[in-house]
Symmetry: C2
Subunit: 453 residues, 2 copies
């Protein structure tokens, strides 16, 4: 008798879970046997290539992703105007070690940092002073006056999560030039944000402080950072010649690209899923973040292809200008508020097209508990990690509207091999890993759509 | 008062766990900043290369790994004689489509399967009949008489665990020729065991049935399997010319290579950690299983380097002949029994040098519970999956001695790109992933050594 009561009590819950289980299986099987994510990423990378905000590549990517979503027959596809900064590299970056005695030179693999002011064609020559981080620079203070500051603090290899190692080192890149300028330095050179020793320089954002000079700032490869450090130890008065041509141009009009499937029961509740469409101006922006954009489109395509109607409104969003301004994410949130939209959840994929191992999130305890309650459904797909705090840069501005923020969490080990380099090309993305990511996002969208959050 | 009692009660447990935590951190930090695994793998792959049992490569690998462990100063290093089968490929394998009308030919990327008898230099020409698996062959029965059976069942892409997809398809390779011979087929061609479509043929073991003819058997690349299938659909009477030169030679004397650190408290309790030293005769045996061997040596090197004394005896074992005979694993277990050794646990790494995500295991409920009890200590290292049943081929024979069998569990997505091919070279292994695997094994050895199992 007791058993019967238990069965009657649990039957609806079990049936519900079994329904979810079958749906998740359908999502994964469809994606892994007949997914479009990989082919779409190939087109984005190979026919458009890199796409810094304000560039012709970015404009082409806006047009192409709009067409792709229209072709898939989403309920509506539209552009959301965003004014973006427009930085141009302007030419080949040079970092050259000069031996004052022998006049020998060594060219280092270099890339000017994004949003920086170039040296101009005349270049700049200076003595180099090496520091391991911002604290060491602050301690030196005005001793760096008239010199080139060389930031050589590596990403800590003992950190298991590579994003943690990145966080610990990236200040040298993002605010190194501003801090060095405060003490009168004439330029900065930064060890690339990579956890490998190789020959790729990594660009990335740099923010000047308005009250100090906008001095040139370049990244050099980790291999060349090791070399420069070694030579400096032998010859502390070593000089380096720098040449870069970066310039901030007039702001441009660009767009977030949005595709929607309207909800059948709660159309006013929006679940946004997306990535950022812009990339740096090197490589093909494959992992960062073509992968996330193509995965987001795929989530809605899977619904369309399977003939599923969502209860809530699903929105695939290609945010513009994450890399050097975040204008797309800010404008998206501003308009959502202005239009009285209700985003119950936003999921961003912007950590590379690698093996997904879970989801990071930022939200209330209730929201995070709800996510955890799906652990048994997600574990068969190796989505174990549901505890990490996180989300995504573009969805961050939605937080103060109560939106539950979620980040697809791929394994982090290899991201910083490719991040912001010429090596971030289509061939660096593995088809199954990319598809597993798309399926993971679709699975989570399905659960949130069915159960709310 | 109650609080004080609780604190007194839990204090030793907490202190214990915190001690473990610090030790695991030391293991990981040491390995990720100053590990030897990657450099050792480079030497094995580049200076010795592939090493099928009985080959000069295998002999060189035995000698070199012995020297490496001696150089690290392990308490003892010795060889354990094992008689191994000795198969030789004997020449270039050919699989060529012949169009009987146009006399046009297409050469397919092919590799004879291991332990197979070759066609000999005269080759063999036959009509091809395609099946998707062993069941379809059984249904056809004597219709395949005088023909070449083409096994074209793919690894199921919808399986999340690639080893599961492999298990579902590998029967075509391992017993396809034996089954086809029963029905009078003259040879078999098998679609490579790969979850990618590419041009690499994958060799692997094939077992004849003593009561039927030993017919030639070759693998062709997945790309060429698709091509052959397409052409067969257009022209069902298509012929294929096969040429292979495989031969079983006289058995040879080889060795398991064993290094030991003697236990300080329970020296009679042995924890074995290892991989198999042999590989197929193509590529460099980097993922399969140079990675596992170098990780196992590294576990003991870390103990030596850190000056840690183990309570129990730690043994690094390089088993010989996993690929085409398993003689090393069998002889190791036989001798362990004969010598009255007590192996409390055996850990094998033989699933590639990829990102570790947990451990598989086979043992009693108590043994598996003990492993699960360390979940909180292992999770910070992304070792989430402690539930999967498994272990390793070489340690399997120890099971009837009560040994707890454990397999390092790396992510499986990419293993079958490289497995048994020319592509399984050093460059296919990522340094951090390899090191994370070595550290994971060392961490588990540490916990078992401290707490028993």
């Amino acid at each position: 008798m007791k058993n019967i009561i238990w069965i009657l009590f649990f039957f609806p819950v079990l049936a519900f879970a079994q329904g979810h289980e079958a749906k998740l299986k359908t999502i994964y099987t469809t994606e892994l046997t007949d997914g479009h994510t990989y082919e779409n990423l190939k087109t984005l990378c190979k026919e458009i290539g890199n796409r810094l905000a304000g560039s012709p590549g970015a404009a082409a990517a806006v047009e192409w992703t709009k067409q792709v979503m229209e072709r898939y027959g989403f309920d509506t596809v539209y552009l959301q105007p965003v004014t973006v900064p427009h930085w141009e590299r302007g030419g080949k970056d040079i970092a050259r070690i000069i031996d004052s005695k022998t006049h020998g030179t060594v060219d280092l693999s270099a890339l000017a940092l994004g949003n920086t002011q170039g040296t101009g064609p005349g270049g700049l020559l200076g003595q180099v002073i090496e520091v391991k981080g911002l604290a060491e620079l602050q301690a030196l203070g005005s001793q760096v006056k008239g010199k080139i500051v060389f930031f050589n603090g590596p990403m800590d290899p003992s950190k298991i999560d590579a994003f943690e190692a990145y966080s610990g080192a990236v200040g040298q890149r993002s605010s190194g030039a501003a801090t060095a300028a405060k003490w009168g330095a004439i330029a900065t050179v930064v060890r690339s944000m990579s956890n490998r020793v190789d020959d790729f320089p990594h660009t990335g954002n740099q923010r000047y402080a308005p009250e100090y000079a906008a001095i040139p700032a370049l990244a050099i490869s980790t291999q060349d950072a090791n070399l420069l450090s070694k030579l400096l130890a032998q010859q502390p008065d070593l000089s380096v010649y720098l040449e870069s041509h970066g310039e901030m141009k007039t702001e441009k009009l660009s767009y977030n690209v949005i595709g929607e499937l309207w909800g059948s029961e709660y159309p006013e509740e929006i679940i946004a899923v997306g990535g950022h469409l812009d990339s740096w101006d090197v490589g093909e922006g494959a992992h960062d973040d073509g992968a996330g954009c193509m995965q987001a489109i795929e989530v809605l395509r899977l619904y369309t292809h399977l003939g599923w109607k969502s209860k809530r409104t699903l929105r695939a969003v290609m945010w513009m200008n994450e890399e050097n301004g975040l204008r797309g994410g800010q404008e998206y949130a501003r308009l959502a508020k202005e239009n009285g939209e209700k985003h119950i959840a936003a999921i961003e994929s912007d950590s590379g097209g690698f093996l997904p191992i879970g989801f990071s999130s930022t939200g209330t305890d209730a929201q995070r508990s709800k996510l955890s309650s799906w652990a048994d459904l997600l574990r068969p797909y190796q989505l174990w990690n549901l505890q990490k705090p996180g989300g995504g840069a573009d969805i961050g501005p939605l937080r103060d509207q109560g939106t539950f923020l979620i980040g697809l969490l791929p394994d982090s080990q290899k991201y910083f091999i490719y991040h912001h380099t010429e090596a971030d090309v289509f061939e660096a993305v593995d088809q199954r890993e990319l598809e597993l990511g798309a399926a993971a996002m679709a699975a989570l969208v399905y659960l949130i759509d069915q159960e709310g959050i």
